[in-house]
Symmetry: C2
Amino acid sequence: MHRTRVRIVEDALDANNTIARANRDDFDRHEVAVINLMSAPGAGKTTLLERALAEPLPDVRVGVLEGDVQGSYDSDRIAGLHVPVAQLNTDPGYGGECHLDANMVRSALPSLPLGEIDLLVIENVGNLVCPAEFRVGEDVRAMVCSITEGEDKPLKYPLMFRSCELVVINKLDLLPHLDVDLDRLLYNLDAVNPGVQRVLVSARTGEGVEEFRRWLVETAPTGARAVV
Amino acid sequence: MHRTRVRIVEDALDANNTIARANRDDFDRHEVAVINLMSAPGAGKTTLLERALAEPLPDVRVGVLEGDVQGSYDSDRIAGLHVPVAQLNTDPGYGGECHLDANMVRSALPSLPLGEIDLLVIENVGNLVCPAEFRVGEDVRAMVCSITEGEDKPLKYPLMFRSCELVVINKLDLLPHLDVDLDRLLYNLDAVNPGVQRVLVSARTGEGVEEFRRWLVETAPTGARAVV
């Protein structure tokens, strides 16, 4: 019974990876670098993007794909920045799917002006488990971890923290008002993903956001930057 | 393709419900009331339980079942309260399951002294989507929503907020340090689950926790309380 289940899951992931590769081919053809941005609900992904994209990135044209169970709250916020944005809802699945998969992202590609952007940020559904299991065609994975969630999250959700090339620690402005030990959080992060790049920010005050912007620019394809 | 997927999901939920009913029968036979406690990662479920169970509840003997992807961090914390606790890990699933299901809970029943408790709190995996889709044999569902997650969460994860009999709004002590509008959060909650019972707490300072303790006592079976 358990073996059958694992087999079904592996088959589903194989099918997902095939579609993810097709997405990746489309992104490559348009010379678009793609970031899969993940976090727990309310960790501040959208607020971080609002802050980071309030001013255009130097020589990098950004687009955003918003993934949510329901509604267009996040894409409405991003649209105010005059950045191309598309909304993907996962609620046709029973009760809503808890993650984006490659096929959902594929269905959104016609809504995105791939020929007019260099960098696509895909904001995944807020969840620290399944989004890490489904590649969607991204080049890199980044996650936002709010310090309000406590020091133990890397240990409790290791696959998520391990699968990312960048970990953004957010809501630093709240540190004086919490019992959370930031050093312990970073120690736990290092235990599951040794040496992973990290940026400490407060999307609310803007602290550290410039460093995140630099990472976005570095992630965009060099070719695209040279052309612009 | 989509229809097949929905069908498979419905079959899985039917199978889950059958096992959930078997769990419920076992709980009823032992006159144990069961709470399925859910939230996003880091919303404060364990800290709330630590606070609420630091002193025994009047005439109600409590047990706790901790659900996590990996590790026994939460059950170690609860064990310090001298409350019977069992830990369930979901990581035998690929990358870890993002929710408890009825079969997982069933596998943990032999570890729980059902004959010696009146109330079982099942702390689910931190996730605002799938835990709401899988009943595990509980009598009631409660969730913890941290105000740090923002006002929009009821609108973005409606099934979770709608499926609960109690919503605990936590981390109230942080309100002065946030841009979050508490009235707006409560308004959004009322939009998806009109009139749902709610308790405002700070598990950190203890504010409101007595009201949560009273709700726990009221949820326990009257029969059990009369006997003790």
